[in-house]
Symmetry: none
Subunit: 138 residues, 2 copies
């Protein structure tokens, strides 16, 4: 059975700002602070470069959908670099997966539109006479 059912127990523990849950849900990197310059406390988690590095490394090593205990461990590790909560880690993985899928899907769309071989065309001269696409085209 799906042991990794991943019921998000994390956002139940503390007050989740459900008012921000909308807005397309795109960025997981949480741009910059909404203020102008000075250190105004941010309302959302903003990962430090070290945190981001660790998260990317974990993701790259195959940790796509961490379990609850994995999220807790990762959170503990990342807290050493700055303020962070479990829900931040949970959402980071969720958004990262979605973002990767989206990116890949877009790439597939644009590629299947023409089913072309892209780079291998350019490795050799396209004008050498062997490729039928060398002419016309606009």
């Amino acid at each position: 059975m799906g042991y990794s059912k991943t019921i998000n127990i994390f956002h139940t523990e503390v007050g989740v700002k459900s008012l921000q849950g909308r807005s397309g849900g795109d960025d997981c990197y949480n741009g910059h602070q909404p203020s102008s310059a000075a250190s105004q406390p941010s309302s959302r988690w903003n990962p430090t470069p070290e945190q981001l590095r660790v998260l990317d490394e974990l993701f790259g090593h195959g940790l796509k959908t961490p379990t609850a205990q994995q999220i807790l461990q990762v959170t503990a590790r990342l807290r050493h670099f700055g303020k962070i909560e479990g829900k931040n880690v949970f959402y980071w993985f969720q958004n990262h997966r979605a973002r990767e899928r989206q990116k890949r899907r877009r790439e597939l769309m644009s590629m299947r539109q023409y089913h072309s071989k892209e780079q291998q065309l350019w490795s050799n001269k396209e004008s050498a006479g062997g490729i039928g696409l060398g002419t016309v085209l606009y």
Copy 2:
């Protein structure tokens, strides 16, 4: 800047390394060559200002990852301004995307701030549930 640039102590030597004349080596655009000598074959494509203008315009208009056909069309258009191959256009878009991303990522990085406020919101409840810690994450 440029701390980790390639330290090439030999770059006073003339030794042109282009042992593979894969790019024909005819008259590429060279911004300003010595007027006396004949066109010295350039080992790599050097875009003319017109070519650059068109490329930047296309990119700015939304053409970020052109398909093979689009690359061929663009190449055909740009060839009117000087010698060019499809792979040059392909590489140009690849590099342009990468360096735009690089620039934006560096900007984000520099404005990213560190949050020192520590919150212990997850002290007890996170570790509850009888989850055995010490699991290898990857």
